[in-house]
């Protein structure tokens, strides 16, 4: 029976096209002109984050010294990405990428600001999960860091939604650490449906990274899906712990 359940990760790797070489530089597409406005955007955001809606950063010492790594926060507000990117600091921000669902990316106004604020790629998670994972693979394989909301969508209540196993698949197969992040307060500052943030306080807590050394050997003992799920569950547990400690 052992043979039946082992090494299914080969098939996942094939689906992710993980061992294929990129025909062209997958990061070239992020060189759009919007990026020239990024320093200005984060300068303005920084002023607002200090004096209007205060954003406090905690635990940046937990971030790995160099990319690639995955930043996995809870998601309850459109303010989450810029809050995390700002909290990480400019040095880390330049190597930081994010995938955005077509639902938001296809709105011209939203897309403009997404491209100003981030190295962003459009994905279609509704119709197919694998192109989104492949886009993530291309970014991580180039040694960049990636922002992924494991919930897959924004929580309308501020409560944590079930996690999808994409974070686990990517981190295990690419041997990339995952940094669990708890964002507190952005839901109150900018709830879904609002355009302009309210004054108030939000906190970004970076937890200790989940490294893959204990998980990757398990691919030889159990179905790959359950290893991916174990990592995803661990990330969720750590975000829960960060939330409980505050």
């Amino acid at each position: 029976m052992m043979e039946e359940i082992s090494l299914t990760s080969d098939y996942w790797r094939k689906l992710l096209r993980l061992d294929e070489e990129d025909k062209e530089d997958p990061l070239k597409k992020f060189n759009y002109p919007h990026r020239f406005f990024r320093p200005l955007f984060y300068s303005i955001f920084g002023v607002a984050a200090r004096f209007y809606f205060k954003i406090r950063s905690h635990g940046t010492e937990n971030l790995p010294a160099a990319p690639p790594y995955i930043i996995a926060p809870n998601h309850a507000s459109s303010l989450d990405y810029p809050a995390v990117a700002w909290a990480m600091g400019e040095g880390r921000r330049k190597d930081f990428y994010v995938l955005a669902t077509k639902h938001f990316y296809d709105i011209p106004f939203t897309r403009f600001f997404m491209k100003v604020a981030a190295n962003v790629e459009r994905i279609d998670t509704v119709d197919d999960f694998f192109p989104a994972l492949r886009a993530a693979v291309r970014i991580l394989k180039r040694g960049k860091s990636l922002y992924i909301n494991p919930e897959g969508t924004r929580s309308t209540t501020g409560k944590l939604l079930p996690f999808r196993p994409g974070v686990g698949i990517l981190s295990v197969e690419l041997n990339v650490p995952v940094v669990p992040v708890y964002i507190k307060g952005t839901h109150e500052l900018l709830p879904p449906g609002s355009i302009f943030p309210k004054p108030g306080v939000a906190d970004v807590y970076f937890g200790k990274p989940v490294y893959m050394d204990d998980y990757r050997p398990k691919l030889k003992q159990e179905n790959a899906y359950y290893v991916y799920k174990e990592v995803t569950d661990e990330v969720r547990l750590r975000i829960d712990e960060l939330a409980r400690l505050q």
């Binding site: 043979e3 039946e4 359940i5 299914t8 098939y11 196993p165 698949i169 179905n223 790959a224 899906y225």
Partner: protein, 82 residues
């Protein structure tokens, strides 16, 4: 081919962690039995590994029942023999 049916049923049961006798072969694994859609990928991955089938990616979303998985396995095995 009856053996294949038995093997696939046993394999699916072990992967989704539901006893064989609790799986209605016509039931939708995802909606009726609450199986995660990515566990469906794991089933195809296990079949790929066990029978060397090279299960095509476009089959990922078309398989939703145990009967469907058995039919796919038989079809791919026949195609392999030709």
């Amino acid at each position: 081919m009856a053996d294949i049916e038995k093997e696939v049923r046993s394999l699916v049961s072990k992967i989704i962690k539901i006893p064989e006798d609790k799986i209605d072969p016509a039931a939708n694994l995802f909606y009726d039995l609450g199986v995660d859609s990515l566990l469906g990928v794991e089933i195809l991955a296990a079949l790929d590994k066990k029978y060397g089938l090279n299960v095509p990616e476009d089959k990922l979303r078309s398989i939703s029942t145990l009967n469907g998985i058995i039919a796919l396995t038989k079809g791919l095995l026949e195609g392999k023999r030709k």
